[in-house]
Symmetry: C2
Subunit: 429 residues, 2 copies
Amino acid sequence: MGIVVQKYGGSSVADAESIKRVARRIVETKKAGNQVVVVVSAMGDTTDELIDLANQVSPLPPARELDMLLTAGERISMAVLAMAIQNLGHEARSFTGSQAGVITDAEHGRAKIIDVTPGRIQAAIEQDAIAIVAGFQGVSQTTKDITTLGRGGSDTTAVALAVALEADVCEIYSDVDGIFTADPRIEPHARKIPRISYEETLEMAAQGAKILHLRCVEYARRYGMAIHVRSSFSEKKGTWVTSADKVGSADNEGSTMEAAIITGVAHDRSQAKITVVGVPDKPGEAAAIFRAVADAQINIDMIVQNVSAAATSLTDVSFTLPRGEGQTAMTALARLQETVGFDSLQYDDSVGKVSIVGAGMSTSPGISARFFEALSDAGVNIEMISTSEIRVSVVVAETQVEDAVRAAHDAFDLDADEVEAVVYGGTGR
Amino acid sequence: MGIVVQKYGGSSVADAESIKRVARRIVETKKAGNQVVVVVSAMGDTTDELIDLANQVSPLPPARELDMLLTAGERISMAVLAMAIQNLGHEARSFTGSQAGVITDAEHGRAKIIDVTPGRIQAAIEQDAIAIVAGFQGVSQTTKDITTLGRGGSDTTAVALAVALEADVCEIYSDVDGIFTADPRIEPHARKIPRISYEETLEMAAQGAKILHLRCVEYARRYGMAIHVRSSFSEKKGTWVTSADKVGSADNEGSTMEAAIITGVAHDRSQAKITVVGVPDKPGEAAAIFRAVADAQINIDMIVQNVSAAATSLTDVSFTLPRGEGQTAMTALARLQETVGFDSLQYDDSVGKVSIVGAGMSTSPGISARFFEALSDAGVNIEMISTSEIRVSVVVAETQVEDAVRAAHDAFDLDADEVEAVVYGGTGR
């Protein structure tokens, strides 16, 4: 008998019918002889509705109170899920993040887990009950106030609990069947990846694939917790996220295939590009620009600096950043114009990023060349390039993102024999 | 500088606009130099909506989980109220029942407060913050589970906190201006009572007046906490509920009036009457009947046993009980027919109860006679009678309840000089 931690996102518990369906699935897992701990997000659009309510009374709701408000969402879903399970004749008990021992720092809205002390959860499952835990929330070690973990919080709760309970697996349920070689809405031949390493998953997530949040994958990698990403709407096996040495192991349903060099193609339409035109090409100018952006708390992604035109000793610096932070960055940079002495600022939010990710590429030469040739053949113009050990990313015009995804998918033979019938979407929080 | 505890019911915080209005009132109280602790119910119909949701997944939701679910209601209202206050430039912090130190027994759905340890509330108000506390909820001392206090729970939370904090006053806000001499929807000349004793309030509440719940008045009486019942929709003074010796004191705005013998007229349309016909008039028969009803967990109110007809040695026993429990009682009694040997059972749910309440009646003879004469003059037929030291109640046909209220109000000179413009309703929980 092992411990299974399951996490169900908001779309899996959107209404009473969905909750009853999820309850039946949980009971099946229990009947199969497992001790079951379930982490649940708020129902459907609850979180957005609560944020709307907050904004009706305050343009900038205080973070402590916003956390108090939002945690009502999981309180509702977890209690109703526990009721639905009990109605099927199995004991179930719901626990808040605080009751489940999810101890965090005091950074409201983006708290970090600093300890997990799941004594009450352990007691519940030892008494043969199914434990239902509120995702996304914890309690501050110092202030004893209720905190939330921010985006991807429920996934992180699930992995952290799985680690603390020494669970066999952490199953993350959403409305998609697993992690795909590309977004099936763009590439109909996209294939579900049976196994993928933590590192590749991190690159995929960082490059825009929306299945798992960076944070939960980082947590799982640190403690070696296996994640099974799957759909709550089907019985299919999903994608196992494990350490690289287990990806090719014998129980891998994909291991009979020739190892693909590229694991998947990710894309991201949430970014914008800022170009600082006519920067004097001397030491310290680029540093001043990026210091200003960093001071405005903006995370930049890719940076490109052109070689300066010999005649003028001026250069252009381009970088990408989340679109939502574009206005803030432009304002911060405009204030620098006199001291740095650049010519102008250009803002472009009709860009997209396409990345190929795969552990195999570090030992296979010519991957970048094959990628760029494929893009060229598809008529896609590359605006910026960046690479890591296991990833090559390009920025292209937003209108060419889909062409670029399909071209890359085709160039690296990622196509499935059969088209998977799935809807590709986010996992909620 | 004193401590003021204010409680706002669901109708006072029904939407964002109401919450902003309540926030302004709270800030005014703070600005007047008070330390302010606010107890809040769930917004408007939230509780009913959550119960609906529970019933969609379970016909009989487990009590522990129902408590977990329902407490999400106050969590939402208290966080949003704290935001609205902060938006007015005043520090406010929300606290769950558990955080506020409301310690209860483990009886889910109807927990009793066994201790209040408001250390965090005290710290908050000493730091000049306004403390917002979730009404209706607490935490079990033994199981550490979340509990709810049942009907009238938020009022009880407010009084219990006021006692624990040694507050100057506990203000209970609803959508009515105070406690009236009768329901103004029935008796347009009903007058707001400026001061009333705990004992009279208890009798009024027990006899159907819906302003304050029995439980909170009992708690206030035990610890001598003054309650000020008033409307959150007006600035008018409301009704002070205090010990009897303070009701006639000099600061009583009503003390210049000649002391009324009767304080008010209450009515109750929630009851039904059961008559057990043809009970053998011998010892133990009535006991068997009421034992059966008690074993079915039914609270009966008034009991009347007729003198037996000499010829038959049979008697009729009638009693009143809440309508919702009528079916259960009839079923329990039907099972007794053979052993007790009565003729038949009659069930009548078209009855109502009208009561006159007043501390003055214990020293004034002829009150019952004057009451019965007034009813007779109004053509109202009395079906049952019961009395206490400070109350006389009659059961009449439901269609005659309003006539009876007006007749009693008129007979004891309770009419106001001016008609109060109010809407009379419940206080929510």
